[in-house]
Subunit: 96 residues, 2 copies
DNA sequence: AATATATTTCGATATTTCTAGAAATATATT
DNA sequence: AATATATTTCTAGAAATATCGAAATATATT
């Protein structure tokens, strides 16, 4: 993973509301949750929620699939894995 | 780990220069590196470097120890571990 | 086609962050 | 004490981000 990509993903996770959204979806499993279900859990305006979700989608941490009127959001687990691998890479290579 | 703490740490890592600093120190091992050594690797003004380092220190991802005129910076590995644990926690609890 | 539901886009304001030069501080050396 | 080295703090302008109401869009239902 390129460092710019890692920094972008970390920055998006580095906001309490977005991290809450992300964690809810990580816990929810591959099937994910509808935007409306997330909104019920968080109690924030739709426009704000939509803004945060779209940022997480943009950096690849979430995906969305439409089911009729409902948009379902899913955590992209393999991206989290790649990000964690990046952070751990060559950890302590020059340890004493 | 509280979510506010995790978000703060992620936000600080979510900046290319800071992530570079942090990765250099993660690779460097427990002994760490002097601020001046980091500056040589990155080629940025001292004030900018100092600003970024102090932000990483503030959220506990780095520590600093003075050795005479030199300030040595170290990655706080256990904080990274805690952060990664937070991100992975209850991962896919409701998987289908 | 009209209406209802779900979600996003727009727009505007408030706040935060980034950057780096200049000045200040801390320690070491002479 | 004077000077040199290492690093931080101060400052301020530019850029980015956060928030949310209003309007727009997409789909479903009647």
């Amino acid at each position: 993973m390129k460092i710019e990509m890692a920094a972008n993903q970390l920055a998006e996770l580095g906001h309490v509301t977005r991290l809450e959204i992300y964690r809810i979806l990580v816990r929810a499993g591959h099937h994910g949750l509808a935007v409306s279900a997330i909104q019920e859990k968080l109690d924030i305006p739709g426009s704000t929620l939509s803004h945060h979700i779209s940022r997480l989608v943009k950096v690849g941490l979430l995906s969305q699939t439409r089911e009729g009127r409902v948009l379902r959001c899913q955590a992209q687990y393999q991206e989290l894995e790649r990000l964690i691998d990046f952070l751990s890479e060559e950890c302590c290579k020059g340890c004493d």
